[in-house]
Amino acid sequence: MSFRTRLFVAFSIAVLIPLGVLGVGVRREMERRLTAQYQRRVTDAIQLVREDLAREGESIGGRLAALGAELEEDNRFRLAAVRSNVADRRYLLDYAAGAMRLTGLSLLQVLDSSGRVISSGHFRNEYDRMEPELPGLLETASGSPVLVRARTAEGSVVALVRLDSLRVAGARFIVLGGLEAEHRLLGRLVRDPELSADLVYPGQISRDTSDRKMVGALPLLYLDLMPGATARTDTARLVLTQWPGTLVALRRSIHTWFLAALALTVGLGLLGAGWLAARISRPLLQLSRKTAAIDLDRLDQDFSSERDDEIGALSRLLGAMVERLRLGTARLREAERRVAMGDLARQVNHDVKNGLVPIRNVLRHLAREADQRPESLASVFAERKATLDSSVEYLETLARNYARLSPATSREPCDINAVVGEVAHATYGPGTLVHTTLDPALPRVLSDRLVLRRILENLVTNALDSLAPGPGGSVVVSTEAIVRDGAEPQVRIIVADTGAGMSRAELDRAFEDFYSTKEAGTGLGLSIVRRLVLDLGGVLRVDTEPGAGTRVTIELPATSTGAAAS
């Protein structure tokens, strides 16, 4: 598990678990309080319904009492009901309808003491029908509201009624009046829109209330006046049901918002954790990449940092280390140079001596002949002239070779592509095994043109020499510009061949002076190339493998004086 992942997981756990616990706690507390508040509201509403029901009963009773008082004073009623005056019978029959309208009742009947309907407001033409249970019910109800299902011309009506009695001329009459219960009254009793009241009585076609929850029931005395009713008196219930939809919707809403908040928190937490982890680990990754790029030929990594934390300190430590490496490398190179110069001086001394020894011997021989046999001097000179020529040639060759080790004398913006072209054409001519792939936008390099030519000549010569005799091999010289973020532009030169390649051991010694794997090699080519490249501030890298060819990469700092001509 990476450091970044560990940071991410740790931060997520540290943030999300407390947040989750807090959310669950808040949600449970809200739900508990909401349910309790809802229950109190339902209880209050039930109590209110109970009180309203009693109030409605009192209101109906008051109206019936007023009607009774009026009837006791009504002479036409007295004549028709008590004295059976036929002329006033129609007045009697129509009385209840008018009284019902005036009193705002939806059911009104006037019956005599035997239970015979003598006037009916809700069903005018049911007069003379017998309801013998009603006089007895008057005693049973004793002033309480009664639920009555009564007959109408169009069907039936269920009403909350009160019964009252009155005496006219010594005769007892029963007044039954009430309000239609199933719609208007129930709607008025239940003011809470989430509560619903339903009357449950025998023979009722009950409606589907499976989606509701019963929260209370008030018993009522029930009287069925419909023809064919099996049980005339029974018990009905005013059932209060609650539609739990609102509470469910409220809970669902809380859940939804809770989940949304949780999801948002998780998302933000994860994003924050990722951001923080990345913020902490990114500088370490950058340091890691820079450190990985360090080698003795590449000590130009910038480890400077403005941070004042541990990462900044680490970066600065690495920068100091690189600086020390850079100084050490320089000293090492200087020491190497001095050693090389000493070796070279000894070698030159040795070589010159070696070249001068035959000459000195020939000159001693000639001197001795001139002294002893002057006449044979010409023939001896002719005889030893070859030795002199060979020695001189040797020395010339030696001089020429050492001349190649001389440093560049001047620097100017050079077109590497042009130099590559000269080397490829002048040395070997078109159609040879050397191919070029040149970057037309290649920037110029500040160098001595001769130095560049020496570098390329050595590399191309080595590459050609490494090719096996016969067709099939190739040498490719390519150039390209390198632009890195925050770094100076550079020029890359690659000389790649398909030759024999080198082993690791051969590669380790390849840059030593006078080391050569070729019979006629001087062993100075790659050594010179390396020094020239380093002198130009560049980097040289060799990738090789036995049998797979060699790839020499040189990267030189570019100058800002413009691109090379294509």
Binding site: R90, R124, N125, Y127, R129, A153, G155
Partner: protein
């Protein structure tokens, strides 16, 4: 008063006043308004007198008629309610006219003769009365009108008329399938009436609303003719000294029609008696009514040929006792029947006239409370809408009361109880 030919502009009029500009100069039988009797209800027309007012010298030239029901000119000349009957009677003239005693008076025809077989009757038409478009009303035009008008053609068919042939512009020969002893009453049927110009009066309809449809408002606003069965209105009209209160002839009989197979109302049928009907009339009905009294015309017309008996779908009568929604008396009767039928599930229900007719033809409901004309010249036409096999229980007879101004010109009562206003019967009663 402008003369108008579009006195029924709209299809329906809920309540209004018909203003009648009567050409009454030199005519009339009544006394002067100054000699009006005290405001007491008049007795029903005596059998020998179908004349409500005989005012001859009235100066009044505009007569307003209050209408308590909707009027649809598309129904003309065959009315569908009392208001249409009153209104159409003032404009449409049938070949002959029957008064409330059954006396025959001239209408479109001034005279008539029968042939020796008694089957063909030749009507001699008026020559001085043009049709509504001003063209002469000839025998050919009348015959063509009867052929083209469905109600007239159907009525003639139900009455047993075989042919209608114009002999010349003035004479029309009507031939029945059976010999007719006297002038057939079908010729007084409104279905055969024609709208004529001039004649008794020119009419212009001026809608005047009465608040809540209360005819007392119309009476207070000067309506000259009001007819109603509402006892409250009659009671109220007694306070008006300038109005005559005239009970009209019994013109309707309410019956309970039970389609074949109807059940649940057996107790009603078993209680059918004169006392039962009288009790209904006395207690159940709001209006001037009496127990239905025979003769009943449908009893002797049971074998009318049904136009399409086989095409009617068979129905199992069930459900309610239905009535025409706007008919208060029918509603009272239906409710009383329901109250008396002490069986569960029997209720009453009001239907529109069209719905009731459609239901009646298939006998879909348990029972129908219908208002039938007390008299009809074409019984089979009435029976045509009944379901086959139905039984009929007569309930009550009803009548309207006319409240008319004492200063009106001659007002008479026709055989079907309709008022005829401003009618100058110069021919008088004619022999049958």
């Amino acid at each position: 008063m402008p003369r108008s030919t579009n006195w029924l502009r709209g299809p329906a009029v809920s309540l209004g006043l018909l203003v009648v500009a009567a050409g009454i100069s030199g005519c009339g039988y009544g006394s002067a308004p100054s000699t009006s009797p005290p405001p007491t209800p008049a007795e029903p027309p005596e059998p020998s007198a179908c004349v409500v007012t005989r005012e001859d010298s009235a100066t009044k030239d505009t007569i307003a008629i209050a209408l308590a029901e909707s009027v649809d000119s598309a129904h003309a000349p065959l009315p569908s309610n009392d208001a249409e009957r009153l209104l159409f009677r003032q404009r449409y003239v049938s070949p002959i006219r029957l008064d409330c005693e059954g006396g025959v008076h001239s209408g479109l025809a001034t005279s008539w003769t029968r042939d020796s077989s008694g089957r063909s009757w030749t009507l001699v038409l008026r020559s001085d009365t043009p049709a509504l478009d001003g063209e002469p009303l000839t025998a050919g035009r009348l015959a063509a009108e009867w052929r083209s008008r469905e109600t007239a053609a159907t009525t003639l068919q139900w009455a047993g008329v075989e042919s209608v042939l114009p002999l010349d512009p003035q004479r029309l020969v009507v031939t029945w399938a059976r010999p007719q002893e006297s002038i057939p009453e079908v010729l007084a049927d409104p279905a055969l009436a024609m709208a004529v110009r001039g004649g008794r009066a020119n009419y212009t309809f001026v809608p005047v609303s009465a608040s809540g449809g209360d005819l007392r408002d119309a009476l207070d606003r000067g309506a000259d003719v009001v007819q109603s069965g509402d006892p409250a209105l009659v009671e109220y009209a007694k306070s008006r000294a300038d109005r005559l209160i005239v009970p009209l002839p019994w013109d309707k009989t309410y019956v309970l029609l039970l389609p074949a197979g109807s059940n649940g109302l057996d107790s009603i049928i078993s209680t059918d008696s004169a006392a039962f009907r009288s009790a209904l009339a006395r207690d159940a009905v709001h209006g001037d009514s009496r127990g239905a009294e025979p003769p009943f015309w449908w009893v002797s017309e049971a074998d009318c040929a049904r136009p399409t008996p086989a095409s009617r779908p068979a129905a199992q009568p069930s459900g309610a006792v239905v009535y025409t929604r706007d008919d208060r008396i029918a509603r009272d009767l239906a409710e009383r029947i329901v109250a008396l039928a002490a069986a569960p599930g029997i209720t009453s229900r009001g239907l529109s006239a069209a719905d009731l007719l459609g239901s009646l033809q298939v006998g879909r409901e348990r029972g129908y409370v219908l208002a039938l004309p007390r008299r009809t010249a074409v019984p089979c036409r009435e029976l045509a809408s009944w379901p086959s096999g139905a039984s009929v229980l007569p309930l009550v007879d009803t009548r309207l009361t006319a409240i008319v101004g004492r200063d009106l010109p001659r007002v008479t009562v026709d055989w079907d109880g309709a008022l005829r206003i401003g009618d100058h019967d110069t021919e008088g009663k004619q022999p049958r």
